[in-house]
């Protein structure tokens, strides 16, 4: 049991990585990247 629990931190790291990158990768609603001046105005 202790062995499995010891994998928990690693599992959460992977989950957080996927979730965060999924959130960052979603089109639109994420905070605009602002690569070019005009784009941020959302048109």
């Amino acid at each position: 049991m202790r062995k499995i629990v010891s994998y928990l931190p690693f599992a959460t790291a992977v989950a957080v990585t996927c979730l965060a990158s999924w959130l960052a990768g979603r089109p639109g609603r994420a905070v605009p990247t602002g690569t070019r001046r005009g784009e941020r105005d959302g048109h």
Partner: protein
């Protein structure tokens, strides 16, 4: 009275004559037999099969925790490759994929930092890693690489998420992209630079395996996280990564030879390697077919490849443990090597 060789050595003498043989020159079995040709040792016919000390390991098993170090192998690879993919995506106009890659890289890097520090016997002394720079120590070189790569990846992610200082972000992303591959592959050198037979003898193919696995996992993350239209490069990365990974694994096993590669085929190491390859291949297949069209399928494929990559990393790690545990993996190849040298 000179000290003749044999009889007079046990004379009673008051001077401590240096030619008297001290106790460390005692030879067991040298006396007591009729003076004639002593029956020396009957030479044992050198037996072919392998000998050991009660079957105990020759090496001390690595003290690393699987979930920390094997985990780091995966996360390190993911971080490095994701940064590079992200930068490439940014240059080719795929903002969402880029941002996903950057954020993914920094999260993976966070996980790596946790794993590395958690595995230390004295975590509070982790800063000692920067005490010196030793080119002979992959871990020392690796730490310095991480020190260079880390801030850049962090900055890149931060700027891309907050949108501020975009120019600085771009430079940071570029920097991270250039050091990313080093982060992904130095771990192979770290593992190979040990006496563990399966790791050491695979030092030519392991970097390739780790690179392929890193590319595949970065691509997979891209598939998972980025919108479908931007996942072109991710999909191709998955394909190339998985193929390279599989090829490197097969090449490695062939070079190691049947005995040393055994931990990669049998036991926990073997199981994980096969599972990893299976997951990766199916993931790649799905990504090239269904993954093109449906977002769900792409995500699924990405997850499969990620899992596959994790399994491969853990598989290589467990194989190393098994290889250190059984003395025959150390003794027989060395005995063979000695055999070749003595009569090539």
């Amino acid at each position: 009275m000179t000290v003749r060789d044999d009889a007079s050595q046990t004379d009673v003498r008051m001077d401590d004559d240096p030619r008297l043989r001290p106790e460390r020159e005692a030879v067991v079995g040298s006396a007591g037999r009729r003076r004639g040709p002593g029956r020396g040792e009957r030479l044992m016919v050198p037996r072919a099969e392998f000998r050991s000390y009660y079957g105990l390991p020759v090496l001390n098993e690595p003290t690393w925790e699987a979930h920390d170090i094997a985990g780091y192998l995966f996360l390190g690879g993911l971080a490095g490759a994701s940064s590079t993919l992200a930068a490439a995506a940014e240059l080719t106009g795929r903002p969402h994929l880029a941002r996903a890659g950057k954020v993914g890289a920094v999260c993976a890097l966070g996980g790596s930092m946790y794993a590395l520090i958690h595995d230390l016997g004295r975590p509070e002394r982790f800063v000692n890693m920067l005490r010196v720079l030793k080119v002979t120590s992959p871990m020392s070189v690796g730490t310095w690489i991480l020190t260079v790569y880390g801030p850049q990846a962090g900055l890149a992610a931060l700027t891309s998420v907050t949108g501020r200082f975009p120019r600085l972000g771009r430079i940071a992303a570029l920097g991270a992209a250039l050091t990313g591959p080093a982060v992904a592959t130095y771990t192979a050198v770290l593992v190979s630079d040990t006496a563990v037979p399966v790791w050491h003898d695979a030092h030519r193919e392991l970097p390739l395996l780790f690179a392929g696995s890193a590319v595949a996992s970065a691509g997979a993350l891209g598939l998972l996280a980025a919108p479908l239209e931007e996942t072109g490069p991710a999909r191709r990365a998955v394909l190339v990564g998985v193929v390279t990974e599989y090829a490197a694994a097969k090449l490695m096993e062939r070079r190691l030879g049947p005995l040393v590669a055994e931990p990669l085929k049998r036991g926990r190491g073997g199981l994980l390697m096969r599972l990893g390859e299976a997951l990766s291949l199916t993931g790649a297949l799905v990504s090239q077919t269904a993954g093109r069209r449906s977002r769900g399928a792409a995500a699924l494929a990405g997850a499969a490849v990620l899992a596959g990559s994790i399994c491969v990393r853990f598989g290589v790690f467990q194989a190393g443990m098994a290889s250190a545990r059984d003395p025959k993996y150390t003794v027989e190849p060395q005995r063979a090597r000695l055999g070749e040298e003595s009569h090539p």
